[in-house]
């Protein structure tokens, strides 16, 4: 221990380069005359050298990098479209729902009745963009919505395991009526319901659980030309299963195994009739 405890902070300040000029000159002058403080300084330096020589800094694991990047993506929401500034109509979304059916939109009557000719021109221009609106883009948004629902403590707007409460809750919030079957006896207890946005459109999200895992079931009206095909895929480590039934399109998203999610689809379809 130094015989000059009052000088200790100055010694540390010196090795850390934290002293102003006056204090630096003062402590250096003192060191010339005080062997105790010189010994103390050497000891401080020896400890610092030991620490500096060893690789002591911990590095964030790659998995953590990925998780946080995905989390920020989810918080940030969907990426705005490049062409959105000039004409941010919700056409890209419509196109995505249609699975690429541009003609369907132009002929759907909605465009012809309500939209100005400029919009039609814009939608034709968008035809070039259509190939980008792939399933992957869709899956990105679904996974982000799923992750976001887990993160923000906003899994459900209406938290109840009673399907007779969840189903009417969607009335007046979305203009379709998604079936909300009770599946607890199948191992998928109902958690509640939530409104969510996919492609700038409101969709119903029905939340179930499988053990400790959350299953988000996103439901929206199936476009007349949307593909009836069933999809089962993995994206960013999440399982996604898609199907259509009764004029509605369903996307189930979860981190459960694909087998469990297919089981969920089976159970849901059997009860949803």
């Amino acid at each position: 221990m130094s015989l000059h405890p009052d000088k200790l902070p100055l010694l540390h300040g010196l090795v850390d380069g934290e002293l102003d000029a006056a204090n630096t000159i003062a402590i250096e002058a003192h060191l010339k005359t005080c062997p105790d403080c010189r010994a103390e300084l050497e000891q401080i330096q020896a400890v610092r050298d030991l620490i500096a020589a060893a690789p002591l800094r911990e590095h964030a694991p790659e998995s953590l990098h990925k998780r946080i990047a995905l989390m920020i993506d989810a918080e940030a929401g969907p990426v705005p479209r490049a062409h959105a500034a000039s004409r941010p109509a919700p056409m890209p979304g419509r196109l995505a729902w249609a699975g690429g059916g541009v003609a369907a939109h132009v002929l759907s009557g909605r465009w012809l009745s309500g939209a100005a000719t400029g919009l039609i021109a814009a939608s034709l221009a968008l035809a070039v963009v259509v190939p980008q609106m792939t399933h992957t883009d869709m899956e990105d948004q679904l996974v982000q919505s799923h992750v976001r629902s887990l993160l923000v403590g906003h899994l459900v707007d209406i938290p109840t395991s009673n399907r007779h409460v969840v189903k009417p809750w969607f009335n007046g919030k979305v203009d379709f009526a998604p079936p909300v079957p009770e599946l607890a006896d199948q191992g998928f207890p109902l958690v509640g319901g939530r409104l969510d946005y996919i492609d700038d459109h409101e969709v119903a999200a029905i939340v179930y659980r499988r053990h400790l895992h959350v299953i988000n079931l996103f439901v929206r009206p199936a476009h007349t030309l949307s593909l009836p095909g069933e999809v089962a895929t993995r994206h960013e480590g999440y399982s996604l299963v898609r199907w259509t039934a009764g004029g509605l399109e369903y996307w189930a998203v979860s981190d459960v195994e694909m087998g469990d999610l297919k089981l969920f689809r089976q159970a849901y379809l059997a009860r949803a009739q």
């Binding site: 850390d16 020896a46 030991l50 060893a54 690789p55 918080e75 909605r110 700038d200």
Partner: protein, 202 residues
């Protein structure tokens, strides 16, 4: 969606607004990534030494990034690393049940600088070295240093923050940081230097 024709102009306007919001969110996310993602190692390093538990450190850092993102509006362009590490430290305190008391330290150490006897006997550097090798031994020795001296040491020696930045993170005066750092280094010296000088002699 059918039958909403008359409302189309309103829907288009709301889509405009939503796109505008999406753009703002996107810009915010970009600014956040640029400013904060480079400091993930520092965040993890601090969380790791505070919690002494790799999986807890994972959770702390993820929690910290989420909070940092949500309060990113309060970031005024000051040094990003200390700003982020303040949040990491708070997340750690929350994770262990909350109060800053844990970091206020035991006065007995601050006054006497004595190490707990059990520490010296059970986890001395040489038994650690025999177990794990030099870097791991140093790491474990640092982990044995009690708070609040450990966090001060980490922020100074590994993260190379200034006294002023460390004082802001720990919310104590700079003088307190200087005395904590002196105590931390003294503890390390007591633990390590006998071993180091023996090694040098042998």
């Amino acid at each position: 969606m059918r039958g909403r024709g008359p409302f189309w102009p309103r829907l288009a306007a709301s889509a405009d607004r939503r796109t505008e919001e999406a753009r703002e969110r996107h810009d915010k996310a970009e600014a956040f990534r640029r400013a904060m993602m480079p400091h993930m190692d520092a965040a993890y390093n601090l969380a790791r030494y505070l919690s002494r538990d790799p999986s807890a450190a994972d959770d702390i850092v993820q929690d910290a990034y989420l909070r940092a993102y949500r309060s990113f509006d309060t970031w005024r362009g000051e040094a990003a690393k200390p700003w982020l590490l303040t949040i990491v430290r708070n997340c750690f305190l929350n994770s262990v049940g909350g109060s800053a008391d844990r970091m206020s330290g035991r006065p007995v150490h601050e006054i006497t600088g004595e190490l707990p006897d059990a520490l010296i006997e059970s986890r001395n550097p040489e038994s650690l070295l025999a177990d794990q090798g030099e870097a791991a031994m140093l790491r474990a020795t640092i982990e044995q240093i009690p708070e609040p001296f450990r966090e001060t040491l980490i922020l100074r020696e590994l993260e190379e923050l200034s006294y002023k930045e460390i004082a802001a993170i720990a919310q104590v005066p700079i003088g307190t940081i200087m005395s904590r750092l002196a105590r931390a280094r003294q503890m390390l010296a007591d633990l390590l230097l006998p071993y180091a000088s023996r090694k040098a002699r042998s």
